[in-house]
Symmetry: C2
Subunit: 204 residues, 2 copies
């Protein structure tokens, strides 16, 4: 019998695998496993198969490194997107967030992280060489830096700026400012300060 007195190695295996997921402890994993045992067997089959099929079917786009079911993702291969603009993001999730705004019709480049010496992440572990190669291949007018407004994100912004050197491409970044709908008193001082310096003409 296992340390925690599970009567079943099958249960023990499922709990062990579930508890490998980030943020799930063994207690939560046990709760989820017992929940699945109470459901129709269809529920467990559907969950198990969905996980296996997702991992088998999804790869990373060879151009932008977003997730994709094909070698080149639907965004990179769409003739309706503006292929002269590349938005550089940290993660796959950021692509989803920007797509959800419906405000961007260009392409993406997913770095897979930001430069963080403390975490041992240098430029070589990120998809920066492949970004420079895309620009060098020509046809790119603008790179939008959409990395997080943190020290690591800004370090990475600056590194990319340096690597682009004299390549003929416009480099922009997301506007910083007060969040829409936020109270001013809850906006941090640096953001508030920048939003005064970078004030824009009143639009109505």
């Amino acid at each position: 019998m296992a340390e925690e007195g599970f009567a079943s190695t099958l249960l023990d295996n499922a709990v062990t695998e579930l508890s490998r997921l980030p943020g799930l402890g063994r207690k939560t994993a046990l709760r989820l496993a017992l929940h699945l045992l109470r459901q129709d067997s269809d529920a467990a089959e559907a969950l198990g198969n969905a996980i296996i099929e997702m991992r088998r079917g999804i790869r990373y786009c060879s151009v932008c490194h977003n997730i994709s079911e094909t070698d080149v993702c639907p965004i990179c291969s769409s003739p309706q997107r503006d292929s002269s603009t590349i938005c550089v993001v940290e993660t796959v999730k950021d692509v989803m967030s920007i797509e959800n705004t419906g405000q961007f019709r260009g392409l993406y480049h997913v770095l897979g992280g930001v430069i963080s010496p403390i975490d041992g992440i240098g430029p070589d572990q990120l998809e920066i060489d492949s970004l420079i190669a895309r620009v060098e291949a020509g046809g790119i007018n603008e790179i939008i830096l959409a990395l997080p407004p943190t020290m690591e994100g800004e370090t990475t912004d600056f590194y990319i700026f340096r690597r682009l050197g004299t390549l003929p491409v416009k480099l922009t970044q997301l506007a910083r400012g007060v969040s829409v709908g936020n109270q001013l008193e809850y906006t941090d001082e640096i953001t508030l300060g920048r939003s005064i310096l970078n004030r824009t003409p009143f639009s109505h």
Copy 2:
């Protein structure tokens, strides 16, 4: 493209199935799915298969209704357990908790819940008839009621007491009292009051 702009129906399926688990919202489910995509494919296969195999291989013991990989569970079929004592618990998890104490060598009976009119749970939805049948079959000297010390648990205790009627079996319940290692000031008044009324001879 789905509501949330997922580029992949495979990802969408996995997120949907994960978010059916209790306590996992769609955001958490997406985080877990993206984590699995970053791991070796072995990790997703192991998790998916562990879930499917657990559900296929585990059933409920036909005697005590604990989870089991066989028709009668290892506890019920063990010659080393005291088959004259049955501990009545609410859930499978309670069996694990009591087994972990190493203090009980009898058998169990898992009710699958407690009587709760507010939640629409009556005696018929619980394994109470099968408990009475076990006692009527003979050979049982003691029933230990180990249901939660809540109104619902105590209602169920009383219902079982009534159903047992004049059957020749000793009925006991878990000792109520101050938790070992707890400060008195954090013990609720009812528990503290009962632990004074039910004080026991000093043991050293």
